[in-house]
Symmetry: C2
């Protein structure tokens, strides 16, 4: 038996099948275009494995409807990506695959991946953020996602502007929320240079770290998690996490006694595989 | 059999005994002075009931150590109230009462009270804040407190200053965090008038509501709870919650579909009894 993983990101989809031990057997990716075109590729990939596919784990960009009693459970809801708004993701999959499907956000899936096989192993409470094209976050406590009327949308928390930041923010809902100021897109708009090409001495990194540190600060005060993991494209700049730790420590003023800072604020152990591993593990979860 | 409740607030202690049905049988309160003097009153009150007292629930001001494996479990830790710093609260109680004791923060206890007998009944996820002398918050999901390396310290989240607010904030750790700007103490320092004497047309209420609305906003984005309950002395101004709802709605920009606003942001059903009822319920919990 094998498990299927669908990481439905706003920019690209990653589909994979994996073993009971969460080993990836095959994986493909393709850009997120229209629902029709994109879902055709999803269906086509998994159709090859239809006989042995036991379940699917889906981590989707959002907001999504996760309320099982809701009429629109399994839908992508109020996304700014117009073509995907109110798209019945799970309904579409169910037309082709009559198997259990776990449905959650892309960041929750990555959080789960790190929780079961990465930097969250053995801990009780973990919060995961992705700082990429957008910013999103997910949290787990004792193996359960933090949620209520819906899943969290942590990327849109409010933060203070850096005094030297002249960029107004680019969140279409809130302008200068965390995502509006700290996403890879915001970083590029602020400097005119892509993050991966931005020299590590560039002052924009100080601004970026200030925003992520505030995110870590609020996360600490609201969840007191055992660990905060920052993933996503922007965090691939190895110098950034150290800057974040420094500013965070300064903000906290030792008000609470956190675990050792180098083990408290970290990047993902699984790197880009966190989402895939997480979706596979959630697919397994869906069968239990 | 009866249960005991100790609400250990920074300003006053409330001790009570109650029935299996969480009915309050007797309750007393006295100011928080030195640990010696205050604890003598606590011990004296419960000694009357020693024969029938089955367990105790304690909700304490903090930060406190809730890690059962820690050497300082049951202690008040880094509080700015010097006399109580590193005070072994549970150790002191255990000298006199060899019964199960539930140990948590004052706000967690109040949150639990509302969860089991107030405005949280029947919901999965509830966050409770007290806006009083200080600001604190606690959260429950499916009956379990949100926690990790420690309990949350939500009152110290960072928020944006109101443009018309000239007060610098009075948190001794972070100056202008939520507590530093929105506590009853801050409100009085800003205006020179006690909150309960401040006319509802005073512009300070708009500033106060702006801060509490940001708190509700961040709470929504990080937890997506089913309900947020704002208690504490400052919230007794009935006009305030309506202002908070208005500003919160404006901040959210309908990014996520919250429950109906009048049921989403509310004041405590149990009023000042939330903490006592919560501690009694937690005392019961400690025996199971």
């Amino acid at each position: 038996m094998i498990y299927g993983s669908i990481e439905a990101g706003g920019t690209k989809f990653v589909c994979a099948v994996g073993s009971d031990k969460l080993e990836i057997i095959e994986r493909i990716h393709f850009p997120t275009t229209t629902p029709k075109e994109t879902m055709e590729q999803v269906i086509s990939f998994f159709s090859k494995y239809k006989v042995s596919l036991k379940s699917l784990g889906v981590g989707s960009f959002g907001p999504i409807d996760i309320q099982k009693k809701s009429k629109t459970y399994g839908y992508i809801t109020s996304t700014p990506k117009i073509a995907w708004k109110n798209f019945d993701f799970i309904g579409e999959l169910k037309k082709y695959f009559d198997i259990p499907i776990y449905w959650t956000t892309d960041v929750n899936a990555a959080c789960y991946g790190e929780y079961v096989a990465g930097n969250g192993v053995g801990l009780s409470s973990v919060v995961y953020y992705t700082i990429g094209t957008g910013v999103g976050g997910g949290a787990l406590q004792d193996g359960r996602f933090i949620e209520g009327f819906s899943h969290p949308e942590m990327g849109h928390m409010r933060i203070l502007k850096h005094k030297q930041d002249l960029f107004g923010g680019n969140c279409s809902f809130h302008h200068d929320c965390l995502e509006g100021l700290a996403s890879g897109t915001a970083l590029e708009k602020r400097t005119g240079i892509k993050g991966q090409e931005l020299d590590k001495s560039h002052p924009a990194w100080e601004i970026e770290a200030f925003y992520i540190a505030q995110c870590a600060y609020n996360t600490t005060l609201l969840f007191s998690p055992d660990r905060i993991i920052f993933g996503g494209g922007v965090m691939k700049q190895a110098h950034l996490v150290e800057k974040v730790r420094e500013i965070f420590t300064d903000l906290l003023q030792e008000y609470v006694q956190i675990p050792a800072i180098d083990t408290y604020i970290v990047t993902p152990k699984l790197g880009d595989n966190a989402g895939t591993i997480g979706c596979l593990a959630l697919a397994k979860e869906a069968t239990s």
